[in-house]
């Protein structure tokens, strides 16, 4: 299986811009299926970015983040070729982790 995590991390001298897209249903628990039963909530709760072992961004998410969630941020430092470790865990305890090279 391919990773659920897609990252574009680009060093721009002073800062590194990071964009992430994650494949996840982000079911809110408020939507009914075809038979009228509620689809149970299934959403990412925590998403963490680490550069050189140090967290640079932590997202705590609820049910209102869109399906296949996207987030963009920037941090100071970071050089081309550095590792950026990205991990998430959802409300069902499922998780994924991947490491990307800063471009």
């Amino acid at each position: 299986m391919a990773s659920s995590i897609r990252v574009r991390a680009i060093a721009n001298g002073e800062t590194t811009d990071v964009q992430t897209l994650i494949q996840h249903p982000m079911d809110s628990g408020f939507i009914k299926d075809d038979k009228g039963a509620f689809i149970p909530a299934h959403y990412i709760k925590e998403l963490t970015f680490e550069h050189n072992g140090k967290p640079v961004f932590i997202a705590d998410w609820g049910t209102a983040v869109s399906k296949d969630p996207y987030v963009k941020f920037a941090f100071k430092g970071g050089a081309k070729g550095d590792d950026l470790k990205v991990s998430w865990i959802d409300n069902k305890g499922e998780s994924d982790i991947a490491t990307f090279k800063i471009q």
């Binding site: 574009r8 964009q19 992430t20 869109s66 996207y70 963009k72």
Partner: protein, 278 residues
């Protein structure tokens, strides 16, 4: 199928005016393009391939933001994998297409002189599967959407290049597609043109309607409403049910002819698919 052909034949005989009018696709395409250019003088011609985003600034900004990392990325990637995956017999989709299927989306639909019918890209993909001993996949499903998304992506920027050969059957298919486009149907009494010719840029509920010019250049489309990528077949069938009509079978003659007409009148406009829409 036979019923329909018979009905068509009857229509043809009953309305000799149609035949007498003469079918002139090139003139139609010019008129079609002029209509939209005059209606939206500030929109660049190639921008019509971006549908409602060409017409509405607030929506355009939302689109541009999403396009930085579009939600259809996963479907596109799946399409690339599916396209590259060999069939059981070892052959590939690429073996069924000119240029191994890369950068060819703008040439579909085509008129097939053997069968005397229009062949869309979706149909060509399934014919390729069947020719190689694989089962056809559903036209409205995610796999077909992903495959056509990938093929469109490799063709981005290439202008639609639909050909209508000098064959009365091809002209008839074109004309049938045109008639389907303008014919009011469903309980709401809407034609395709009601929304996409008379009212593009207007809101129908929350949706800003896309102009018919360039509308298929963006196919397939990821719709936020669907939360997934959808094929041209899916779009046509949902259009029919939205006007409270019973949709036809995907890739029925009518839909194929409609796709032929709509693609032809957008000749010269770039492929922009896969697109994203609300």
């Amino acid at each position: 199928m036979r019923f329909w052909l018979t009905t068509l034949a009857i229509l043809w005989v009953a309305h000799p005016a149609c035949a007498a009018d003469g079918i002139d696709p090139a003139a139609d395409a010019r008129a079609f393009r002029n209509f939209f250019v005059q209606k939206f003088p500030n929109v660049k011609l190639e921008d019509f391939a971006n549908g409602p985003y060409a017409l509405n600034e607030d929506m355009r900004r939302q689109w541009e933001e999403k396009e930085q990392f579009p939600p259809y990325e996963f479907s596109l990637e799946m399409g690339k994998e599916l396209f590259a995956k060999p069939f059981v017999n070892g052959k590939h989709y690429a073996d069924c297409f000119p240029d191994r299927g890369i950068g060819v989306r703008q040439d579909y639909p085509q008129f097939d002189d053997k069968s005397g019918k229009v062949v869309t890209l979706e149909l060509a993909l399934n014919r390729c599967r069947e020719a190689n001993g694989e089962r056809a996949i559903t036209y409205t499903g995610d796999d077909m959407a992903a495959l056509t998304a990938y093929m469109a992506f490799t063709s981005r920027g290439k202008p639609f290049n639909i050909k209508i050969p000098d064959d009365p059957r091809a002209l008839e298919a074109y004309e049938n597609g045109k008639r389907y486009f303008y014919t009011r149907r469903g309980q709401l009494n809407f034609s395709c043109a009601t929304c996409h010719v008379q009212n593009p840029g207007e809101r129908l509920r929350a949706e800003v309607l896309a102009p018919a010019l360039g509308i298929l250049n963006a196919m397939p489309i990821y719709r936020s409403e669907w939360g997934s990528m959808g094929t041209t077949s899916r779009r046509f069938t949902t259009c029919n049910s939205q006007v409270r009509g019973v949709p036809l079978e995907p890739q029925s003659d009518e839909y194929r002819d409609l796709e032929y007409f709509l693609s032809y009148v957008s000749n010269g406009l770039p492929i922009s698919g896969p697109g994203s829409r609300p």
